[in-house]
Amino acid sequence: MSAYLTSMRAIVLREALRFIHQRERFIAALVRPLVWLLVFAAGFRAALGLSIIPPYQTYITYETYIVPGLCGMILLFNGMQSSLSLVYDREMGSMKLLLTSPLPRGWLLFCRLVGSTAISILQVYAFLAIAALFDIRMPAWGYVTALPALLVAGLMLGALGLLLSSFIKQLENFAGVMNFVIFPMFFLSSALYPLWKMAESSELLHDICAVNPFTHAVELIRFALYVELNPGALGWTLLATAIFAVAALVGYDPARTRIGRRG
């Protein structure tokens, strides 16, 4: 049993070391949501009227509305970033080292997932702290209850990254991921506008947003930040996590993959 924990600690530590070595990545990951929060939201506030919808009990500013969506954005970008680094690892060969360990492949990939999710969550808290400095605050307990929600959402998006990495053949294809995964997932969700607002302009768009797992991840985080549980969102997010994880395992099955084909 201890071999499992030893390997998990080492894989998470390696992810953390790698993160520390790439300080630009941390800054980029913080600047992106802050620009949305402090610039985009400020400009957008006047254009968008929000009514009182759960979990909010009073009128809220637009900045307050998009905070959970931006937490989701950090997790989404990091999930895709970790997919990119998996492809990089494969091209550089260090993936081979991981996959030839005698521990089960599924476990090793799960450890990778946990490592990258832990780092994403740290970034989310750094973002929430800066937002609080700008007086965009959540209930105090919300910062605690958000943790499990961030974990589930992070694992879901990380599993999606893992799945994509098993299909992406080359590093260069990552631009495609930006166009076809990150942007649609983010914009077709409740991150920037509530779903009822979307329904006013198009029923179809509303329906797409409603099935987008990212919407449910954002709603899970939104409710958790207000110390509430959204069981529907939790169910959807867990289901999506399971589907992505199983598909990723199939993608990494040694009888099917071509990992390490180059070199």
């Binding site: 030893t6 080492a10 070595h21 260090s94 030839t100 521990l103 040694p254 071509r258 990992i259």
Partner: protein, 238 residues
């Protein structure tokens, strides 16, 4: 006793056959050179032996463990040096080895003892604190061999480990791999360079997805030099 045995391995990338009914065995404690020109299928064979891919047909036995039915026991007996450097260049040699030890379930005092022993064996102890990026090619390779020996495997696979090294480093690493075989490790050494093969070594000649010859290097060479024999075997069909 056989250290490494492959039977009827076949693998293809789409229509292109990379390996066709490849069978061989290496006895325990032998140094076996896998000689083949570029594109012969050596790397594919290594990917199968290390279970990065699984061949639809054929069997691989590593130190008595079937790689298909008992992959974890088989992989635990395997030390691997990949053709490409797989060191994390931003980490020190020590950190790289710690990471690898943990992937094999070693931690704490046991890991330290194994790491120190492996570094000593390769005269790399004093470089343990250096970042891998700061090492020259020869020392990077030594670190990787130390890493491959860390968990005391009985079978060692090296995929063209001398690529890109200068003559001195190449000779020293080739010598060292022979010493390991003398100490009882089963060594499979892939190369396209005949001067790395000694007359007493076992030899497998792989060309165009097939095994062309398998035996003592001396016997395969016959009355020619191994280099001429190898060129005539692989060139005649070109």
């Amino acid at each position: 006793m056989t250290g490494l045995e492959a039977t009827g391995l076949t693998y293809s990338y789409g229509a292109k056959k990379a390996l066709e009914d490849v069978s061989f065995s290496v006895s325990s404690g032998a140094f076996c050179a896998l000689l083949g020109p570029n594109g012969a299928g050596k790397s594919t064979l290594f990917n199968l032996l290390t279970r990065l891919f699984v061949a639809p047909e054929g069997r691989i036995i590593i130190a008595g463990h079937d790689l298909r039915t008992n992959p974890r026991a088989a992989l635990a007996e395997l030390g691997i040096v990949f053709q490409q450097t797989t060191l994390d260049l931003d980490l020190t040699v020590q950190q790289n080895l710690n990471y690898f030890a943990a992937l094999h379930g070693l931690s704490g005092r046991a890991a330290r003892a194994h790491i120190d022993a492996a570094l000593d064996q390769l005269d790399m102890r004093e470089r343990a604190g250096e970042k891998a990026r700061a090492l020259n090619g020869g020392h990077r390779r030594r670190s990787e061999i130390a890493r491959a020996l860390l968990h005391d495997p009985s079978v060692l696979l090296l995929d063209e480990p001398t690529v890109g090294l200068d003559a001195a480093a190449r000779a020293s690493i080739t010598d060292y791999a022979h010493t390991l075989a003398d100490q009882g490790k089963t060594v499979l050494w892939a190369t396209h360079l005949t001067d790395e093969v000694r007359p007493d070594d076992d030899l497998i000649v792989l060309h165009r997805a097939k095994v062309l010859a398998h035996g003592k290097a001396r016997d395969v060479a016959g009355d020619m030099s191994l280099k001429d024999r190898f060129l005539s075997m692989t060139g005649a069909e070109a």
